[in-house]
Symmetry: C2
Subunit: 176 residues, 2 copies
C-alpha cells in the first residue's frame, strides 16, 4: 500500500514520466526499496483509474508525463498526516518467535540466539558504514542508516527480553 503513496510523493514535486519516477522513488528510499520499472507503469494505471494522477499525453506513443491530481494531493496529505498503525504491521521476527513458542517441536532458545547472532552481525556492518559517513552522503542516507541501526538494536533488546522471559517461565514451571 506504499508504492502508490511513494509515487504520489515523487509526483508532488512536479510531473514526471514513468522511468524518471522509478529512479526518483529509489533515490527517495536511499536504495532500500528498488522497483521493477514495470511496476511503476502498472501502479500509475491504477492511480489513474482511481483519479489520483492524470496523464499529460501530448500524443499516443510519445513520452507520457504524469501529474498528481487534486484528489491525489489530498490522498498524499492524508497519508502523511495519518500516524502509522503499528498494530496492523506484521513484524516477521515477532511472528516467528511467537509461533516457535507455541509450536513446541522447536528449540526457541536456539532460534532466539540464532536471530540475535544475525542481528549483531548486521549491526556491526551498519555501525561500520555509519563511521564511514561523510559529506557525500545525503540526508536520506543518514536517516535510513539511523533507522536501520535503531531497529536492529530494538530487535536485539527484544530478543534478550525473550530469553529472560523464557527462563523465568521455565523456572516457574519447574517450581510447580
Amino acid at each position: 500500500m506504499s508504492i502508490r503513496h511513494g509515487i504520489l510523493g515523487v509526483l508532488s514535486s512536479g510531473p514526471a514520466h514513468g522511468y524518471r519516477i522509478k529512479t526518483q522513488f529509489e533515490e527517495s528510499t536511499g536504495g532500500a526499496w528498488t522497483l521493477n520499472v514495470g511496476q511503476v507503469y502498472s501502479t500509475l494505471n491504477r492511480l489513474e483509474r482511481d483519479g489520483l494522477v492524470e496523464c499529460l499525453a501530448d500524443d499516443d506513443d510519445s513520452i507520457k508525463e504524469w501529474k498528481i491530481t487534486k484528489t491525489g494531493q489530498q490522498t498524499l496529505s492524508h497519508w502523511f498526516h495519518t500516524p502509522v498503525d503499528d498494530s496492523q504491521q506484521r513484524d516477521e521476527l515477532t511472528i516467528k518467535v511467537l509461533f516457535a513458542v507455541v509450536a513446541q517441536s522447536f528449540d526457541v532458545h536456539s532460534l532466539v540466539q540464532n536471530q540475535r547472532g544475525a542481528a549483531m552481525g548486521r549491526l556491526q556492518q551498519l555501525m561500520k558504514r555509519k563511521r564511514e559517513i561523510n559529506r557525500g552522503n545525503s540526508l536520506v542516507d543518514i536517516l535510513l542508516l539511523d533507522a536501520q541501526v535503531i531497529k536492529i538494536e530494538a530487535e536485539i533488546k527484544w530478543l534478550d527480553t525473550c530469553e529472560a522471559r523464557l527462563q523465568k517461565w521455565q523456572k516457574e514451571r519447574g517450581e510447580l
Copy 2:
C-alpha cells in the same frame, strides 16, 4: 509469506481441521493477527498444491483434517532457522518520513511531531496494559506486549534522531 508458515507452525503440533487452525493461529499471535476463515482454506489448498500439507480425508464432505508433510516440516524448520532479512522489510514509518523529506511540499517537522505524539499515546496505553498484567496472561501475551513496547520506543527514538538531524541539516544549509 507468513500465513503459510504460521499454519505450518500450528500443524507441527499435530493435525487439525481448518477452523481449528484459524483459532490456534490467532491464539499463537496473541490476537495480533486475526484471520478470515476463508483465508485458511485457500492457503491450505496452496500448501497442499506445494506438497507441504496433506489432507486426511476420511470421506468427502466430512470434517477434513490436515497434516504437515515431511517437506512441510523441513520448510518450517528452514523458516525458523533463517534469520529475518530486515533489509527486505518495508517499514511504513521510515518510508513515510523519507518521502516527506524529499517531497518538499510538506512540513517534515510537523509530520515527525505528529507521528511522535501518536506513538507516545500508544506507548502509554501499552504501559498501562503492561502494569495490569497478571497470571491470567500467557507467555505469548507478555512477549507480544514487550515487542510492541520496544518497537514503539524505537520509533520514538528514531523520530527524535530525525528531528536532530533535520535541525543540524538546516543549520548547515543556513551557514553556507
